[in-house]
């Protein structure tokens, strides 16, 4: 199984969400 293909830009993710009819799963993460 390939790793998750993450979007990095909010606007791009929302554009894809509209096009593909899916919700967005948004992870705010901290490199600690």
């Amino acid at each position: 199984m390939a790793e998750i293909q993450w979007e990095r830009d909010f606007a791009s993710a929302v554009t894809r969400a509209k096009k593909e009819g899916k919700p967005v799963y948004h992870d705010f993460w901290f490199e600690g």
Partner: protein, 159 residues
């Protein structure tokens, strides 16, 4: 970073198929526009947005994979519920209870499934079923206590 669930093949397949996955790195010394817009104060903060970018469900802090998948299913159900796609939301909430009955979000899914059924079919017995199901399966949950007023509704009531 929520590294544990992301190395799980079941989660990888689930999120890739059902969602648009999006990552935003947080820098505490440099607040970004997105951090301010969504009031990010701890990590990980995990949000389910609809196709307009509106928030419908949020998790703060690490969530193990056996709880994270049902949380995402719940978020999808909330997007549908909030958009008045009630039949599809009922299916989403039911799926959580059937597939992940021990998940932390399961009692809330029982509650929302009943509310969606009530809104869709205008049958108050759906609210009574919320109470009955929560009292039977999750009697210690906050949602069982929040459903307590529905215990007064007749089991076969109609509005």
């Amino acid at each position: 970073m929520n590294a544990g669930p992301y190395s799980n093949e079941q989660f990888q397949a689930f999120v890739q198929e059902q969602f648009i996955p999006l990552k935003t790195q947080v820098f505490w010394d440099k607040q970004s526009e997105l951090m301010e817009r969504f009031t990010i104060k701890w990590t990980p903060t995990l949000i389910i947005h609809d196709k307009e970018g509106r928030e419908h469900h949020r998790m703060v802090g690490f969530v193990p994979v056996n709880d994270l998948i049902p949380h995402l299913m719940f978020g999808k159900g909330k997007v549908l519920f909030d958009g008045d796609h009630l039949i599809k939301s009922i299916e989403a909430f039911r799926g959580i209870v059937e597939q992940y009955p021990d998940a932390g979000i399961a009692p809330e899914a029982v509650y929302y499934r009943g509310v969606a059924e009530y809104k869709r079919y205008h049958d108050a017995a759906a609210l009574r079923r919320i109470y009955d199901a929560l009292a039977a399966k999750y009697p210690q949950s906050e949602w069982a206590r929040r459903a307590q007023p529905y215990s007064q509704i007749p089991a076969y009531a109609e509005v």
